[in-house]
């Protein structure tokens, strides 16, 4: 099932477009990576996909349909180096992860229930930060902050997880643990995961698809094409690399 798609999207920040004629489909329940050299507009592609930027032309559709029974679909977004952005934020790791629950039910006003505490605990345990739950975010190391940010996205019970270079600041063991965690989210819960990464070789065994951004030669623009490994509409399960 199609979860998100971009059709002939062109976008640029100044008068020169940096993404040209992007066509991209994200299927439900796939683990996709976006790869490309620095400056290939990977983050821009994610922001367009999330609706944070409006394309010059073309169409972006994300989560337009509603899931029957489960209410509106939820997007967990972990921006690039979000942890470094607000380092002094005076909040405990637990408070921060719990804030992911606010968006989980689509209500910002209801009382928090026992279920919310359980999801918070689970998310903190999944990233191995449960023991440090009452520490302030500012006191954590870069890699730990990154984990807490991932935990907040997980606590949302997201249908789509969008991660921008999530393994930055993590050691090798943590990176592998992270890929396995994402893999389980995809296989067991049907979560769709889209991540930008520079660690393609080590992530490859877990991925369903790699979207590569390439430089287009004609016209001298820096622009991008997307290629899929096994065709856009192949069933996610069978197309594992």
């Amino acid at each position: 099932m199609l979860l998100a798609s971009m059709k002939d999207v062109t976008f640029g920040y100044s008068d020169v477009p940096c993404l040209v004629d992007v066509n991209l489909d994200i299927l439900q329940g796939e683990f996709a990576a976006i790869a490309g050299p620095n400056g290939a507009s990977k983050t821009t592609l994610l922001k367009l996909l999330l609706g944070l930027l409006k394309p010059w032309k073309g169409e972006v559709s994300l989560l337009s349909e509603r899931d029957s029974g489960r209410g509106k679909r939820k997007v967990g977004y972990v921006p690039q180096q979000i942890a470094a952005f607000n380092a002094g934020f005076p909040s405990t790791a637990e408070e921060f992860v719990r804030s992911g629950r606010f968006a989980a039910q689509g209500s910002w006003f209801r009382k928090l229930r026992g279920e919310d505490r359980e999801w918070t605990e689970l998310a903190l345990k999944q990233v191995g930060m449960w023991e440090q739950r009452s520490r302030r975010i500012g006191e954590l190391s870069g890699g730990q902050k990154q984990r807490v940010c991932i935990a907040r996205a997980l606590a949302m019970e997201p249908d789509l997880l969008v991660l921008d270079e999530p393994v930055t600041g993590m050691d090798e063991a943590s990176r592998n643990g992270f890929y396995e965690l994402m893999d389980r989210q995809v296989r067991k819960h049907g979560t769709t995961v889209v991540m930008v990464t520079h660690h393609l070789p080590e992530a490859r065994p877990y991925l369903d698809r790699i979207i590569e951004l390439e430089r287009k030669e004609n016209g001298g623009w820096k622009c991008c094409t997307t290629t899929s490994c096994r065709g856009h509409f192949a069933p996610a399960r069978s197309s594992r690399l």
């Binding site: 977004y77 972990v78 607000n86 005076p90 405990t92 279920e115």
Partner: protein
């Protein structure tokens, strides 16, 4: 001291400001808008000067101009997305320069100007108290009802937007409230020092408090202590209330930060074993785990 009518009003007004301004400050600081309060008060001064020049009620025109400034800064901020402080500088210049010109046009204003600049407890009249009370009430409702969206927006606006929050609207409402609080707090602490009440308790709280909720309560507590101590000192020593309150808050900030440092050093010396245990728990052993479901 409290036999005097004007002191009762000053304490009442001070308490009201001290409850809402520091909470506002915590969010302003986290949104990198610490100077916004200062800017709005300078812009508001232009409104006061204009009101006096045109023969309107200066409090009302100051309030209106501060609110207008809050709306404008929100749009300028969107224009300079990554440099939020530029919008503050631009509007501050606009406000202060027009205030200077308007005051120059109106010679009779000059003696009352100092009470606007540095605050005056006598300046708090009934109208201002009513205005202040309604603003504080609106602020309390705003901060209580929207505490969760505000938490997310204060951390990061982009993730808040992907969570479905109307970031622009909330941000504008927040700016409006800032303008309202700043202009209604001005009679007590004055134009030049109104930001002290907003910024100083908050900067102590976000440094010292163990959690976000604690930071909000702590900022309120520090604000109350600072205002009451400052007003009392200002009465006893016949000093301008704005300066006295701001200086008291500055001393509280200094004492708080220093005692936090001293406490941390003491804890380090006394509990080396606990530190080791903690280090073990934080060490590389804690990794991603394979729990996937609840229960």
């Amino acid at each position: 001291m409290l036999h005097y009518d004007f002191m009762q009003r000053a304490f009442c007004a001070g308490a009201l400001i001290a409850l809402v301004a520091p909470v506002l400050g915590v969010y302003l600081l986290l949104r990198r808008q610490a100077l916004m309060a200062d800017m709005l008060s300078h812009v508001s001064l232009a409104g006061i000067a204009a009101g006096a020049y045109l023969g309107a009620n200066p409090t009302a025109t100051g309030f209106a101009v501060a609110v207008a400034g809050a709306i404008v800064v929100e749009y300028v901020r969107r224009f300079y997305k990554t440099y939020g402080e530029i919008s503050v500088a631009i509007l501050m210049i606009g406000g202060l320069s027009s205030a200077a010109i308007l005051m120059g046009l109106n010679k009779s204003l000059n003696q009352s100007v100092s009470s606007y600049l540095f605050g005056s407890v006598v300046a708090v009249d009934r109208t201002e108290l009513v205005l202040l009370f309604s603003v504080v009430l609106a602020g309390a409702v705003f901060f209580y009802v929207l505490r969760r969206p505000l938490y997310q927006i204060a951390f990061d606006e982009e993730t808040a937007a992907t969570n479905g929050l109307p970031v622009k609207g909330l941000s504008l409402a927040f700016s409006l409230l800032t303008g309202m609080v700043v202009s209604s707090a001005m009679p007590v602490v004055g134009v030049l020092l109104v930001s002290a009440l907003i910024v100083l308790p908050a900067s102590l709280a976000i440094r010292v408090a163990p959690s976000f909720a604690a930071a909000l309560w702590m900022a309120m507590g520090v604000g109350l202590v600072g205002v009451f101590t400052g007003l009392t000192a200002s009465y006893e020593l016949s000093t301008p209330p704005g300066g006295t309150i701001a200086l008291t808050l500055l001393l509280l900030l200094l004492a708080g930060v220093l005692s936090k440092k001293a406490y941390a050093r003491l804890a380090q010396r006394n509990q080396p074993q606990l530190d080791k245990a903690e280090a073990a728990a934080i060490g590389p052993a804690a990794g991603f785990s394979n729990h996937t479901t609840l229960h």
